[in-house]
């Protein structure tokens, strides 16, 4: 009998302590470290490698990873590690640019659709639905075909391809907010519509949008690399990670390191951003 009491007391104590201390995921900690590292690489790539990404050395071509060239060299004798470090900038730039364009365009379309009356909504949403019918990458390819390749155009293409899904999210959230009682209260107070959008709708849509964007960042990295693999991305000698993967495709049998390490970099970055995005999502739900 008395043991039952102590058991209960103990479980309660355990509940109290675990209730307060949230278990930290080691993966999340790794992702956080990675982001700090990434920021440093973006700001000061020179700190991370003594090699130049563009210095060719035909004598040292296709060397496997060793003490001098950590990740080996490519067919022109360029240091793969150095190219990876300098390529980070382009890869991240494309992904962030694409996400910003997607979020911005999506927010604009979504708000227009939600606030612009029934006809505007109908027209915009039919367009969005048609666009959503295409895979994002295909849509981006279409835009690149129209605009031509290159770093900026890839970012724009991916951004446009992302607009429909952001627009849908923003429209849905905005409609919820517009139907809310606090927006009704604002209307009764005589607050002008555009003010209501700025004060109530945008901030309340912003949270879910940031969450979706942080997850979307991951897919933008993959899609960006994908377009670069197809040779539509940055123009040589500039190379993002996708272009590096493409560079090595003829040497996969003999010099796997040229393609594999950039591919790994893409994977790690995507996993990290997705993890962080999910975490944000969970926090938003709570």
């Amino acid at each position: 009998m008395s043991s039952a009491v102590t058991v209960l007391a103990e479980t309660e104590a355990a509940v109290l302590t675990t209730g307060r201390v949230r278990p930290r995921s080691p993966l999340l900690a790794a992702a956080a470290t990675l982001f700090v590292l990434l920021a440093l690489v973006l700001a000061f790539p020179g700190l991370f490698t003594a090699h130049s990404p563009e210095a060719t050395d035909v004598a040292a071509a296709l060397r496997p990873p060793d003490g001098r060239h950590w990740l080996g060299t490519d067919q022109l004798g360029r240091d793969v590690y150095a190219r990876l470090v300098y390529g980070t900038r382009l890869s991240v730039l494309i992904a962030v640019g694409a996400t910003l364009i997607g979020v911005g365009g999506g927010a604009l379309l979504g708000l227009l659709s939600a606030c612009g009356g029934r006809r505007v909504d109908f027209a915009l949403m039919r367009i969005v639905e048609v666009l959503l019918g295409f895979p994002e990458l295909l849509l981006a390819l279409l835009v690149v075909a129209l605009l031509g390749g290159g770093t900026l155009n890839v970012a724009i293409a991916l951004g446009i391809a992302g607009v429909p899904s952001y627009a849908r999210l923003v429209r849905g959230q905005a409609r919820l907010v517009l139907r809310s009682e606090y927006v009704e209260a604002a209307r009764v107070l005589g607050v002008r519509p555009w003010r209501t959008v700025l004060r109530h709708v945008l901030p309340n849509v912003g949270g879910p949008l940031v969450v979706l964007a942080s997850i979307g960042l991951g897919s933008a990295i993959v899609s960006g690399a994908g377009l670069s693999v197809l040779g539509l991305g940055p123009v040589p000698p500039d190379a993002d990670w996708g272009a590096m993967v493409a560079d090595g495709k003829d040497f996969l049998q003999t010099a796997w390191w040229i393609s594999v390490f950039p591919g790994l970099a893409v994977t790690v970055l995507v996993v990290a951003t997705t993890l962080a995005g999910r975490r944000l999502q969970l926090r938003a739900v709570r």
Partner: protein
């Protein structure tokens, strides 16, 4: 299945719990702390308390449904004659439905929307082996009949959304009865229902106890409970503060909290204006809606608030308002007219679907009527474009039903109020905000809080302060207290009444609750199916309702038994003494609830 014998307990209680304690991780206090109760066959025990008192958690713990995270323990827990302290999920499942069945508050959520009510009930019956495959249909019809569902053969094949709220609740009760359980646990079974339907469902539950079933009734509503309960337990903050035979507890409450709850029942003792029993009571089913509005009091003779000089001036007037919704053109408003004079309080009473909320929205200029118009100070109010109405919006303000949704969750109280105070400098706005809060009885330091940090009553006060900020002449209140606990309800009603007297604002007060309308209004419109069936002075209409529908409405107001004058702390010999602190005894944790 083995732990619980098939036979009912030979004698004694259907359920018995001693020293029940339920806690949730992360909560500083246990949700339920030391509750003891029992229900005998044919007995109705009521668990009464305000939101957060732990009454629902108690009920759920008794059927092993306290939730995955709950920690449940008790000195004794006997269900259907078996010791349930060690029950696992399997054993609980064999008890639920067979020995104890639960009736939930919201039948629309509790019933599967994709299945007919007949299928729902049949499943419950088959699950517990109450019938074989052949007898199912007849059994379902029999159950629906016992639950008072008219035309059970036809209703059986309908889906929950095709039924009215009252019929849904009856169907839910029928499915709870499927396996003929000796004990029913009903958690707020009538809270979501209109007054007339509520009275019917309470009568049905009463018949079930008369036939020998035990009933554990959970409710926030002492007036509803008073109709049925043999014994009442009053809960507060997880503990029972008073318990005893219903009659004694209702007429001679010992604990101050019980007394406060009784006082808070609208239309009773609190302000000495109980809803009187109608003189010409009649239970005639409501007749055709073509019945002409009965004017109980000629216009203009209503007694009003402070200044009689204001009486004659009409602020807001609705003329022949009509509004339809949907493709079939369901008439939400069908030729409704009203006049609201300066400083007056006009009640609009009706059940759900009567069009009263549409009337509020039309009066606010949020919805444009299909025909007819609203005039503000004799000038068009509903007709102009929103842009032209906006500059005059300050004159007509709004207090909404749900204080949990009426403020932007990201805003602080200061910003919520600030939105209603445009064109003021920051410091002036803060000063005015504090003043408004004082006016509604809140401390100024709430200005920095966000809505989720406030209680329901505080939020509603903030909403009222916001509505007062522009200095309105009309305050449209749409069910402003129906989302609040009874004691808070009374406070908010008093506040609205006081503000009307202080500021001279006119109230258009929408409610389903006759008792509430009695507290704050002097004139009332009774609405049904989008039309006004009766109009007149509140007292007159409540005492001598003219229209049969009004009579039925007045008759359905639940009354408390007449109470003995409160004698502080003295209540000798009447029933059980109030439960005091928990008796220290060994506690056994219940496994079943930890799953």
């Amino acid at each position: 299945m083995s732990a619980v014998g098939d036979g009912r307990p030979a004698a004694g209680d259907l359920v018995r719990v001693e020293g029940l304690r339920v806690s949730f991780p992360g909560q500083p206090r246990p949700a339920v702390d030391g509750v003891s109760l029992s229900v005998a066959p044919g007995e109705c025990v009521a668990l009464v308390g305000e939101s957060g008192s732990g009454k629902s958690v108690t009920a759920r713990a008794l059927i092993g449904l306290a939730g995955a995270r709950a920690r449940v323990s008790a000195r004794e827990l006997t269900v259907a004659g078996a010791d349930a302290t060690g029950f696992g999920e399997r054993q609980w499942r064999s008890v639920r439905g067979r020995h104890i069945a639960m009736v939930f508050q919201d039948a629309l959520v509790a019933l599967d929307p994709l299945r007919t009510v007949g299928a729902e009930i049949a499943e419950a019956a088959r699950l517990h082996g109450a019938v074989g495959p052949e007898g199912t249909e007849a059994h379902v019809v029999d159950l629906l009949t016992r639950a008072g569902v008219p035309e059970p053969e036809a209703r059986r094949a309908q889906y929950p959304h095709q039924l009215s709220g009252g019929l849904r609740q009856r169907a839910l009760i029928a499915s709870a009865l499927a396996a003929d359980p000796p004990l029913l646990v009903a958690d707020e079974p009538t809270t979501a229902l209109d007054a007339i339907v509520q009275a019917q469902i309470l009568r049905l539950l009463g018949r079930l106890t008369e036939s020998g079933r035990g009933l554990l009734l959970i409710s926030h509503d002492l007036a509803a409970v008073a109709q049925l309960a043999d014994r009442i337990l009053v809960m507060r903050q997880g503990a029972v503060v008073e318990s005893g035979p219903a009659e004694r507890l209702l007429t001679n409450p010992l604990h101050p909290y019980t007394r406060m709850l009784l006082d808070a029942v609208p239309g009773t003792g609190g302000h000495g204006r109980p809803v009187p029993a109608p003189k010409a009571q009649s239970t005639v089913p409501a007749p055709a809606r073509q019945a002409r509005p009965v004017r109980a009091v000629p216009r203009g003779t209503a007694r009003t608030g402070p200044g009689h000089d204001r009486v004659e001036r009409t602020v807001l007037e609705g003329r022949d308002l009509t509004k339809s919704y949907g493709p079939e053109g369901r008439r939400a408003l069908d030729g409704v007219s009203f006049t609201l004079r300066a400083g007056e309080a006009l009640g609009v009473v009706g059940e759900s679907g009567s069009g009263k909320t549409t009337l509020a929205r039309v009066a606010l200029g949020l919805v444009r009527p299909d025909a007819g118009e609203v005039l503000l100070h004799g000038r068009p109010w509903s007709a102009p474009a929103e842009r032209d109405r906006r500059p005059h919006r300050a004159a007509v303000q709004f207090v909404q039903q749900d204080p949990y949704a009426s403020a932007d969750p990201r805003f602080t109280v200061a910003r919520v109020l600030g939105e209603a105070l445009p064109g003021l400098r920051r410091s002036a706005r803060a000063e005015r905000g504090a003043e408004l809060l004082r006016q509604v009885g809140l401390p100024a330091d709430l200005l920095s809080r966000r809505p989720h940090q406030l209680s329901g009553g505080q939020r509603q006060r903030v909403a009222i302060a916001r509505a007062l900020a522009p200095g309105p002449e009309v305050l449209v209140c749409d069910e402003p207290v129906s989302a609040l606990d009874a004691s808070v309800q009374a406070q908010v009603l008093r506040l609205l009444d006081r503000l009307r007297r202080e500021t001279g604002v006119a109230l258009l007060f929408i409610t389903h609750d006759l008792a509430v309308v009695r507290e704050v209004t002097e004139r009332v419109l009774i609405m049904r199916h989008g039309s006004v069936v009766e109009e007149g002075g509140t007292d007159t209409i409540l005492t001598t309702p003219g229209h049969p529908y009004t009579r039925e409405l007045v008759a359905s107001v639940l009354r408390l038994p007449v109470r003995a004058p409160a004698r502080d702390g003295a209540g000798q010999g009447a029933g059980e003494p109030p439960l005091s602190g928990p008796v220290p005894q060994p506690i056994t944790p219940l496994r079943g609830n930890d799953v």
